[in-house]
Symmetry: C2
């Protein structure tokens, strides 16, 4: 079934990601057909919500039969746009950037890091976790050459805005930002924030407060 | 100045984390005294907001002089509870867990991973990124022995709820959850979610949608 070209609420897209992960897990367990209950079991999402979410796209399951795991996986990947491999750049090979370079889970999202950049002359040209670190001065050149539209931003907080702006100027359209700062960018550049630092500190603060 | 024992809004706590990082950066640059403008420059937070946030605790700066960087750092750390080293456990040494074990930035938050757990017999007993991987069956024993109250949860989505519940039973009071699932836990257990996977997928989805 072809996805309807209509607006999907962000929360629905988020849940579709969850279903996708659940489906991949079921596939790993050699399950060919699954019920809505099987798919939502570990997600704290109800079967009703699941069916409602899928109904945005016309619905895929057969009543009383269930969902074909691989077929539904493919359909949701198409909807989410994760069906084609995307080449991404990682900018900022500090502590967090290095850990991200060592993260082997990106291919599961059909993401492939193809370039890593840093501004530190001591790092440029070195190999880190299998990636050759490029000078940030080559950002435009490499991004154009590699056809990169998506970037991971893991530079220090004081450079984040400047580098993000530069990425946008080079044609990057989506940034996964790990710097704890609200980036100001043109409207056609999408930003998602993963602020591990603030989440950690927020958690510790709640822990402390509970003991006061 | 002693922090007043009163409720601080979550958003304020979050901004305090940002100020802290900015202050540490200024200290690295050997700046002893800084203005509110210096501290907020790269944060997309106004000086007015900064002063308002500090006013919760009585205010620290001197008008026309500025803030003593190290003093303010210490005070904010005290407020946030990051002034003492916390021993944490990492549970789930898969792709993401391994990357997190290789992240060398935790000490900056006064966090120290002291134990890593997994359920996979092939991993148990092995050394990964300098950590010996313990069997998850030893969770209670090790957590008690090490006095651990905080855990990083990086297990697969289907085990997350069960393991989180187990952690809570062992006395863990704060969980940084990387599994893309909403955990249901007793009210006295704090959870922060870092859902890199969904953020990534959400970003790609927005990118795709913009081209339809």
């Amino acid at each position: 079934m072809r996805p309807l070209k209509r607006y999907i609420p962000q929360e629905t897209a988020r849940r579709l990601s969850l279903y996708l992960r659940s489906l991949k897990m079921l596939d790993q367990k050699k399950k060919a057909v699954a019920s809505s209950g099987d798919i939502t079991r570990f997600l704290n999402v109800s079967s009703v919500q699941f069916r409602k979410d899928l109904s945005y796209f016309g619905g895929f399951g057969k009543r009383g039969v269930g969902y074909e795991v691989r077929l539904l996986t493919k359909e949701i990947e198409k909807i989410l746009g994760t069906d084609a491999v995307r080449r991404i750049a990682l900018v900022g090979v500090g502590k967090l950037g290095s850990a991200l370079l060592s993260y082997t889970g990106f291919p599961e999202f059909n993401l492939q890091i193809v370039a890593a950049f840093d501004a530190d002359p001591d790092k440029i040209g070195k190999i880190k976790r299998g990636f050759k670190i490029e000078s940030i001065s080559r950002l435009r050149e490499v991004i154009k050459k590699e056809g990169i539209e998506t970037a991971i931003l893991s530079v220090p907080v004081e450079s984040a805005q400047k580098v993000a702006h530069e990425l946008a100027k080079c044609g990057v359209r989506a940034i996964l930002n790990f710097a704890p700062v609200n980036l100001t960018l043109p409207k056609d550049v999408f930003v998602s924030n993963v602020d591990m630092a603030s989440e950690l500190e927020g958690l510790i603060y709640k822990l402390k407060r509970s003991k006061v």
